[in-house]
């Protein structure tokens, strides 16, 4: 299935204009100038499909579901088809030794050029927690990373450890970037991540031969540059101080801000509010539930999904005891003070005229 992408698309009944339109939209989403859409289309049309190796570790397959299981065959899905996915254990036909053979071949043939996609976190507590063909996940990752041009960590688990890393982290789960230090890594967090972010990163790589600009957490700035809160259509209600207090009150029905119900939108950087989900149908806040912050590191342990950001993450445990200790200290000092003052009074010797002299 080698050959320019446009030919493959044409065979699938995708016209050039459809493709151009898609590229224009993609460029817009990635905050690239309008002219980039055309450049993108031309580059991608002529691009050869890169070899992609997909390694799943401690994951739930939700990321794969998100990207491959769309309602209708979308362009995202098609572009995804257009890469040479040489190893994806979940969806590939081959199994066992055959699959491992495919992996070895792909790594050998495309050494230094393939893209490595990882979903799931890597258990470091005991190598036995996760193995493939007798090798631990961490060995797999290190092997595959050696010859990779770049690594794309898909999902919060691969990006930041995710739910496996949640307290008390029984498997000692870590992220890809905790292990691999010498390769360019793009994190596409989210539980699951937004499909278009994935294709956007691929499109960028295919067009410009490089990875998009990343933020401090290794995420493409184009999609993770702003918080959910800042792009949220309910933001005006926050500014006006109108909040839903419960999930079924008047405020909730009128679509007011969900901040008080624990929405993590203010501290979550993602594109849900603009790109939306399910082909642009809706997204969590629009459906009436606060953002969980799933694309942020350690979102699982950030004090509870239904607790507003400005309230204590944990119930105050020390406060009552501290108050008692404080009162105790105060009383102790006051007894000491009274004794001291009493002693001073007792020791009082009437002041005489002689005392006034130096």
């Amino acid at each position: 299935m080698q050959g320019p992408l446009i030919d493959t698309l044409a065979r699938q009944g995708v016209t050039r204009r459809t493709f151009l339109k898609y590229c224009a939209t993609l460029a817009s989403m990635m905050a690239l100038p309008p002219s980039a859409g055309r450049a993108m289309a031309e580059a991608m049309a002529a691009a050869r499909r890169p070899s992609v190796i997909w390694l799943p570790f401690q994951e739930c397959t939700g990321c794969t579901e998100s990207i491959t299981r769309s309602h209708s065959p979308t362009l995202e899905g098609m572009i995804f088809d257009m890469i040479s996915l040489d190893y994806q254990v979940t969806i590939m036909a081959a199994a066992g030794h055959q699959a491992e053979e495919a992996l070895r071949n792909a790594m050998l043939e495309n050494d230094g050029k393939y893209l490595l996609v990882v979903d799931g976190s890597i258990p470091m507590g005991d190598p036995g927690y996760g193995t493939h063909g007798g090798h631990s996940f961490v060995d797999h990752l290190q092997q595959a990373a050696k010859g990779a041009a770049a690594i794309i960590a898909v999902g919060t688990c691969a990006s930041y450890g995710g739910i496996p890393k949640a307290n008390p982290n029984p498997t000692g789960a870590v992220s890809v970037s905790d292990i691999i230090k010498d390769k360019p890594i793009v994190n596409i967090p989210g539980c699951p991540p937004i499909p278009v972010v994935m294709t956007g990163v691929l499109a960028h790589y295919l067009t410009f031969g490089s990875l998009p600009e990343l933020d401090a957490k290794g995420r493409p700035k184009a999609f993770f540059g702003e918080t959910i809160h800042d792009r949220c259509y309910r933001r005006p209600f926050y500014d006006q101080g109108k909040f839903a207090k419960t999930f079924d009150d008047e405020g909730a029905r009128r679509g007011w801000c969900l901040f008080e119900l624990g929405c993590k939108g203010p501290v979550t950087y993602n594109a849900c509010a603009t790109v939306k989900w399910n082909g642009g149908t809706s997204w969590p806040v629009e459906s009436g539930h606060g953002c969980l912050g799933c694309s942020e590191p350690d979102f699982w342990d950030a004090g509870g999904f239904y607790k507003a950001l400005s309230v204590p993450a944990d119930p105050l445990k020390l406060a009552a005891a501290a108050a008692v200790v404080g009162a105790g200290a105060g009383v102790a000092v006051s007894f000491a003070n009274r004794a001291k003052k009493g002693a001073a009074k007792k020791a009082h010797q009437p002041i005489t005229l002689a005392d006034l002299e130096k």
Binding site: F259, A308, K317, A322, G330, N337
Partner: protein
């Protein structure tokens, strides 16, 4: 520790420690101060309208005759930043939510834009107060490390809160965490610095007012 962990810590353990030290300090200091006792006044009291401890508690919130003109910066700046702080702390929606969570009391807040404006004005007033402290010979003469320190400790929560909301300097998550941390520092140092006047000023005004009320002088 990443920014969200930092935020979770300041919202959790950090807040617990800060509120704990605050309560501990407040109770300890209040008891320490007010159990020292005082002698009963044996002189026959005189009564006068408007003279009592309670009257003075309220009356001292207004500038005495002629004083506004003598020290306009202290009064106007002081009013603006005290009222500003109160508005921000007690009428900002996220702050009300915290108070509600801790005490169960709840009341409506003000629009974000208004709180924003109040914040800027408050910060401006605080900067003016600082400049006044540097410029004015009396204030400079009286100032110790504690005065500069408590100014900074009071200013930082306002500044970081504003920066967080405006998305300036640092990502929101980090700035929010710094904001909460700075407010916690304020809570921790409050009982042990001159900031404790927030509590003792009522006692002081009352003592002054009631002692002078016995003489029939409304002060």
């Amino acid at each position: 520790m990443n920014d969200l962990q930092f935020l979770t810590w300041v919202r959790g353990t950090g807040l617990d420690i800060a509120v704990g030290i605050f309560l501990l300090g407040v109770l300890w200091r209040l008891i320490e101060i007010y159990t020292l006792g005082r002698k009963k006044d044996l002189a026959a009291p005189r009564h006068a309208a408007g003279a009592s401890g309670l009257h003075t508690v309220f009356r001292r919130s207004l500038p005495p005759p002629g004083m506004l003109k003598r020290s306009p910066v202290s009064y106007i700046g002081g009013y603006i930043f005290h009222i500003g702080l109160a508005v921000i702390v007690f009428l900002g929606a996220p702050h009300i939510l915290l108070i509600t969570n801790l005490t169960g009391l709840s009341w409506p807040g003000l629009p974000t834009q208004f709180i924003d404006l109040v914040t800027v004005v408050t910060m401006a007033a605080m900067v003016v107060m600082l400049v006044d402290r540097i410029n004015k010979p009396v204030k400079r003469f009286l100032s110790t490390f504690e005065d500069w320190f408590t100014w900074a400790v009071t200013f930082l929560p306002v500044l970081t809160g504003w920066l967080a909301v405006q998305h300036l300097l640092l990502p929101y998550t980090t700035m929010l965490a710094l904001h909460i941390l700075s407010a916690e520092i304020l809570l921790v140092v409050l009982p042990f610095t001159k900031l404790f006047h927030a509590f003792t000023l009522f006692g002081s005004r009352w003592y002054n007012g009631s002692a002078n009320a016995r003489k029939g002088v409304p002060v």
